[in-house]
Amino acid sequence: MAWTLTRWDVRALCAGADLLGGGGGGDSEVVEQLLDAALRDTEVTVLSADELPEDGYVIHAGALGAPDVLRELHFDPQDLARAATALATHQGVEPTAVGIIQVGGLNAPLGVLAAALQGLPLVDGDLMGRAFPRVIHTRPAQRGLGPAPLALAGPEGHLVVVHESTQHTLDPLITGIAAEMGGTVAIACHAMTAPEVREHGLPGTLSRCLELGRAFLRARTAGTHRLVEALGATLLCLARVDDTVEANGDAPGRTTLTSADGGEVIRVDHVSEFLAVSVDGRSVASVPTVVAAIDAYSHRVLHVGDLTVGHTVALCSLPPVAPWPLEVLTKVDISAFGFEVD
């Protein structure tokens, strides 16, 4: 059943996307303003994957690179349209809808923005069900249906189309290009037919994200325990940050916390998202489960970089918005990041 996403849904959408970012995926604050402006005069129609026409064609759009750069660098929303158009031209198709690459973080509102700018409907769903560090972590990519061909559009007017690449080289290749283009670029990828979207996409995650965001906004002023309960999440700990070490290259970073009541030692391993949480040396949550950190006092959703010494945070694991099928689970679970946990 198609529905309409309006300006009034933006706050909830961004709140939900922040939570599903699992500590990464970029801060949606800047995009929230862009989207709010874009939806002042228009609305976006949201279709479920089943409602796409059989010969429909979906191009997924979002941003790639260092999300923090967005706070300082001007991001031109038209780059999204440029990249999408370039990819459509390259593929020789007329897109019928826009898709969201990852529902966690700023790429959720960016997908809506891309749809709004192109005047196309949006598919209710995404390709990750949360946020992952790399574009190759999408579910179709893990099933062998890579993101390429793809188009990258940079703020200085650059436009790069990658025709094809292997899974191993694609990520370093486009990350390098993005870095050269200024750090963050608009990306259009995963040009998929409607049946492909139905088969490989994660359906309904946009609706789930909105529900989560609405629940968060409603319960935000309640106590921390009530808030966590309202999200349907599991509270892992309420703890104070003792020490934090940033990720360095492939080596994950780690944050050590001490629980406020029981004195338990909590360890959080992270790259750009939270990967694993252990309490007293026992693993309590790990990817693909989404772990969200919420400031215990302001109830702001925190990113990995926000966990600084002295902060008291509530760590909770969110219920999955879309289950990852078993056959690809090992490609995105904790072992894929070089961890072995019990």
């Binding site: 030692v265 360890r267 252990s278 040396g281 026992r282 946990v341």
Partner: protein, 512 residues
């Protein structure tokens, strides 16, 4: 008894790990270490393990945390990481502190050698103990005397053990210096008041027949363990000796009883075989014998009645008189002491005094009556002195004043006194002289005077006999002096008063 495990702290602070760096969990240094084990991920850990692992195997940090957790769950006692002593993740340090689980790093060039050395260091007490026990067993093998067993054990254990009865009375070895009674109820080895205690448990397995104790010269678990194990090794040897002793004592007792009856029955016609058997049990019949016969009218309770003869013999020995033996005879016990020459009058008097004092020390309610016979030579002499002692004991029993101890010679004097007592002249003299004392209720002063004179004018002994305080006797004597107007230090007056007192019949109620 925690004699088992060495605290891991002693190993971690030991010479092999002097260069190791502590990262956390010092509070866990008391954890007992059972073994040193090379671990990879901690799943192979056993309780008591000191885990050794290459730092690389425990990287990245989350793995180390998980390893720590697993070791703690398995009941391990510490983690030694081999590698450069770089800072560990904060979470690891905090976790080590929280679990009180010692974590150290050591950069050691030869991990295998380190592991061997640690294992040796850990098990050294075991090997020392094993060697000691082996040595002890070999030393004890073949020893059948209690004192020999204790001496041999003392040499091997380098500490002098003591053998005690189940009630805590020392039998052999040095007397333990205890502040309070040892807790010897259960039959479990334990440590109490600086001594390691081990029960010598008999066949029934329920009660300890005796206890072995040895002072713990060190609180080191290894030393304690060695001492405890040493006592455990000794226990069966001691039990064997105790059993043999008991058997021998029982057999001896039967032989002696028969022999004693024979000697008394045969009198002058002692047969040659009797003399030979007497020699075999250690009774020299040809010497001079002085017999003592003990009657206990107060019938002490069962165990006291059993112990009375040995108690009497022991008390006599403390006074310097070694009795040859003590035998049940008639309704009492006869014991005798031997001397190579005929005892002098002085020594007989001293002996009599000693027996009197002894009887005063023993409980009043036993109502002891003791007779001492004259000294005679030879086998028939033994029969005769025992007979005299019995007669004297009967005479003593007829007295009211304590202690009821009489020498056979007193039988003659008693007859003389009896003549006087029955004389009207003496009687009226006494009635007159002692009248002032008879005005007191219960004839207290008369009884006091009687006790005083009976005990050779010694107020202390009179007080003991009356069962009152010495000062009370002193006070009463002053009253007696005042009432009678006599000087009690005059021997002539004392003799006159003594005759007077003896001539008066009295109702037997002792003033107290």
């Amino acid at each position: 008894m925690n004699l088992g495990m060495v605290p891991v702290g002693t190993l971690l602070d030991g010479p092999e790990l002097a260069a190791a760096r502590w990262h956390g969990g010092r509070e866990g240094a008391h954890r007992g270490v059972g073994d040193v084990r090379w671990v990879v991920d901690g799943r192979e850990a056993q309780p008591g393990d000191l885990a050794v692992t290459p730092a690389g195997a425990a990287a990245p940090g989350y793995r180390l945390d998980a390893l720590l957790r697993r070791l703690d769950d398995a009941g391990g006692c510490g983690l030694l990481l081999l590698g450069p002593g770089a800072d560990l993740a904060r979470s690891t340090v905090l976790l080590a502190e929280r679990l009180a689980f010692p974590v150290l790093t050591l950069d050691h060039p030869e991990p295998v050698r380190l592991l061997q050395r640690l294992t040796l260091e850990l098990h050294e007490p075991d090997s020392v103990r094993a060697t000691t026990m082996d040595h002890l067993l070999r030393t004890l093998a073949g020893l059948d005397d209690g004192a020999d067993i204790l001496d041999a054990a003392a040499r091997v254990l380098r500490a002098r053990p003591t053998l005690l009865t189940a009630s805590g009375t020392p039998i052999l070895g040095p007397v333990p210096e205890l502040e309070r009674l040892a807790q010897l109820e259960a039959t479990v080895a334990h440590i109490d008041q600086g001594y390691v205690w081990h029960p010598v448990v008999g066949r029934d397995r329920r009660s300890a027949e005796a206890w072995l104790a040895v002072p713990e010269d060190s609180t080191a678990p290894a030393r304690r363990g060695a001492l405890a194990a040493g006592l455990a090794v000794m226990a069966p040897f001691v039990l064997g000796w105790l059993s043999r002793e008991r058997l021998r004592a029982d057999r001896d007792a039967v032989q002696r009883r028969d022999l004693f009856s024979e000697i008394l029955a045969q009198g002058a016609a002692t047969s040659r075989s009797t003399v030979e058997r007497a020699l075999a049990v250690g009774w020299p019949l040809s010497t001079w014998h002085t017999a003592v016969h003990v009657l206990a009218h107060g019938t002490p309770a069962g165990s006291e009645r059993e112990e009375l003869p040995s108690l009497f013999v022991r008390e006599l020995r403390e006074g310097g008189w070694d009795s040859v033996d003590i035998q049940a005879s008639g309704d009492g016990w006869s014991l005798w002491i031997d001397s190579a020459k005929e005892p002098t009058t002085g020594s007989v008097r001293t002996f009599l005094g000693g027996v009197r004092r002894l009887c005063n020390r023993l409980p009043r309610q036993w109502e002891l009556s003791v007779g001492v016979g004259r000294s005679y030579e030879g086998a028939e002499g033994l029969a005769r002195t025992v007979g005299e002692a019995k007669d004297a004991a009967l005479l003593a029993a007829s007295h009211d004043a304590r202690p009821r101890v009489e020498h056979f010679d007193a039988l003659g004097v008693a007859r003389l006194l009896a003549t006087w007592q029955q004389s009207e002249v003496t009687r009226s003299f006494a009635e007159t002289v002692l009248a002032p004392l008879r005005e007191t209720p219960g004839d207290t002063l008369l009884a006091t005077l009687r006790a005083y004179l009976d005990h050779g004018a010694a107020p202390g002994e009179a007080a003991a006999a009356l069962g009152v305080h010495r000062n009370t006797v002193g006070l009463r004597l002053q009253q007696i002096r005042d009432r009678l107007g006599v000087d009690l230090s005059d021997p002539t007056l004392r003799l006159a008063l003594h005759i007077a007192v003896r001539s008066l019949p009295h109702d037997g109620a002792e003033a107290g």
